[in-house]
């Protein structure tokens, strides 16, 4: 009975050479204040491997021109590299077609696109949108803006004390006015992995489309949009070893066709006269103006890099780190873990008794340990747990168990300063 998991673990451990991976990340060599950098703020933004940095340099030094616009060679190269990046992203999430991938500036813009493109066209007075208590502000505020404009209403799925969504309550929120569901795949504040596949199937049984905020899922697990059957899926490049200023909104082609454009301008049109403008086909209909071409190509290189390591291997290593950290912190007197869902990704929110999270963060920083403190853009979660803020360590595949131990030692030293 016990032999099987051990062998499996050994196999994974030998396949996953974290030191070799770390050598790809120049920034991990930093020694802020003389201490090795222990970067545990990956949920806010992850670091970039040399392969992505090199790809950006290669583009900027040999391939840059505007895309879709000119007959000269450089423009053709830039256009084909940009579209190749779209193909890579489509493969990464197993989209049926590459035109289902829209480049945006990040998760926030992706959700705003969904709100303007779908919400403003199809949601009206008295209609209801279901969101969850766990949502990041970026999946709350756009919908509130829509509700204010249209007279629609938001219904909120509650969570239990472990930070898990109450799925019975979710199902009972549906009625004949329900028009849309927005749910995050993984909670950035608590690490909860939500049962989105089940939630999507239920919504579809009521004819309601679902947007999944995958900002914290895409970097940490294999995402298969066909298997999930989500209608829209959003994530950011900078949490995925890619550049800032780029992200995607995946949408089922038939849905994207029905949505209205978000921004007007060049590239998103087929023809313009002052009498009538004909919009371009998807995905271009949603990509007005010159996009962040280099960033898109860099994101393509980032998903190549991650796929090279393998998302399953990444997830396994990160779960080892999470298990190790959870075991250590739950043994420490005066430390409380916030978010104890049965299924979690590599996010660990915690409180140190008698010490405000900001003081924890400032003191850990002195030991070279970078964590995030605050409300994590999820104030409804903080209100639910009656906390002003939490300290949050979030892991990436390039982190090590030694770094988790540095976090633990750092927390001990915080406790001794405040004892």
């Amino acid at each position: 009975m016990t032999a099987a998991p051990t062998t499996r673990k050994l196999r994974l451990a030998s396949a996953f050479d974290v030191e070799r991976i770390r050598a790809d990340f120049p920034i991990l060599n930093l020694k802020p204040g003389g201490k090795p950098l222990v970067y545990l703020d990956n949920a806010a933004s992850s670091q970039m491997p040399q392969q992505v940095i090199d790809r950006l340099v290669h583009y900027r030094t040999t391939q840059h021109a505007n895309i879709h616009r000119a007959v000269h060679t450089l423009s053709e190269i830039a256009t084909s590299e940009y579209e190749e990046a779209r193909r890579k992203l489509a493969r990464f999430i197993n989209a049926r077609e590459e035109r289902e991938v829209i480049f945006t500036s990040g998760t926030t813009e992706s959700i705003n696109l969904a709100m303007h493109g779908y919400g403003r066209k199809f949601i009206g007075a008295g209609d209801e949108i279901i969101l969850t208590t766990l949502e990041h502000h970026s999946n709350i505020v756009p919908w509130q803006m829509l509700c204010e404009e249209k007279g629609a209403r938001i219904r909120v799925v509650p969570v239990n004390d472990a930070g898990e969504l109450l799925i019975d309550e979710y199902e009972s929120l549906f009625n004949e006015r329900t028009r849309f569901v927005g749910v995050m795949h993984v909670s950035n504040a608590l690490g909860t992995v939500n049962p989105v596949k089940h939630m999507i199937a239920f919504a579809h049984s009521r004819g309601v489309p679902v947007l999944v905020d995958g900002a914290q899922a895409a970097p940490h697990m294999k995402v298969d949009v066909q298997d999930l059957d989500c209608d829209l899926y959003a994530f950011s490049g900078h949490k995925l070893c890619g550049p800032t200023g780029i992200g995607i909104l995946y949408g089922k082609a038939a849905l994207l066709e029905r949505m209205q454009p978000f921004k007007g301008g060049g590239d998103m049109i087929l023809s313009v006269t002052f009498e009538k403008t004909t919009y371009n086909t998807i995905p271009h209909k949603f990509e007005a103006g010159t996009p962040p071409i280099a960033a898109a190509i860099g994101l393509g290189a980032a998903v190549d890099y991650l796929s090279g390591i393998g998302m399953d291997a990444i997830a396994a290593h990160e779960l080892d780190l999470l298990d190790h950290a959870t075991a250590q912190l739950s043994r420490m007197p005066g430390v409380r873990i916030i978010g104890t869902a049965g299924k979690k990704a590599a996010v660990l929110s915690f409180m140190v008794d008698g010490v405000h999270p900001h003081d924890v963060g400032t003191l850990l920083n002195q030991d070279g340990v970078a964590i995030r403190t605050g409300h994590h853009c999820a104030q409804p979660v903080m209100q639910r747990f009656r906390l002003p803020a939490t300290a949050r360590a979030s892991f990436a595949f390039y982190n090590t168990t030694a770094e988790v131990d540095a976090l633990v030692a750092g927390i001990r030293s915080v406790q001794s300063v405040f004892s």
Binding site: G33, V355, H356, P357, H358, D359, T362, L363, N365, Q366, T373, G374, H375, M382, P388, A389, V417, F418
Partner: protein
């Protein structure tokens, strides 16, 4: 960057553990709420002015050690002072926390409050130290609530986003 542990000096830890003037004055002539929406720090200040002089002052709330110690030491310092004297301290404290006051080069009245000088090297923590002083300023002007983020806040210090 200065060693942040130098900020968490015994004086500050002591005021955090045993804040002075902690509570609420029953019949306050002035009061204000201070709030830092970015980190959730919140404090409530009540004050009694006898003519121009601070006769009584108290605070309570939920905040980090830097903010609580700053509030505690602030109340201990301004009690018995005139409004003008307190306003001078507010300006000097803000200038010190934002690195605009050269502590050795210019005469000032901060005394023991200079233990907070180290926050100027911690941009995200400057607001924590200043919040009680914002709130005191608001209380004098009977502004009902002070926020480190409000744009019309006369005390708003240009220190970037936390």
């Amino acid at each position: 960057m200065a060693d942040p542990k130098s900020l968490y000096q015994e004086v500050i830890l002591d005021h955090n553990r045993k804040p002075r003037n902690y509570g609420t004055l029953a019949h306050a002539s002035h009061k204000a709420e201070g709030h830092n929406p970015l980190c959730g720090d919140h404090l409530s200040l009540t004050m009694n002015l006898d003519g121009d002089r601070i006769d009584g002052i108290a605070f309570h709330g939920e905040s980090c050690a830097i903010c609580k110690a700053s509030a505690s030491m602030m109340t201990a310092t301004v009690k018995g002072k005139t409004r003008a004297e307190a306003e001078t301290l507010i300006g000097e404290f803000r200038d010190m926390a934002t690195g605009k006051l050269d502590l050795t080069g210019r005469p000032h009245h901060l005394g023991r409050l200079t233990v907070f000088a180290g926050v100027r090297d911690l941009p995200t923590r400057v607001k924590c130290a200043i919040l009680p002083w914002h709130t005191l300023h608001a209380a004098f002007n009977s502004v009902v609530s002070a926020s480190t983020e409000s744009e019309d806040d006369p005390m708003h210090a240009p220190i970037g986003d936390a």
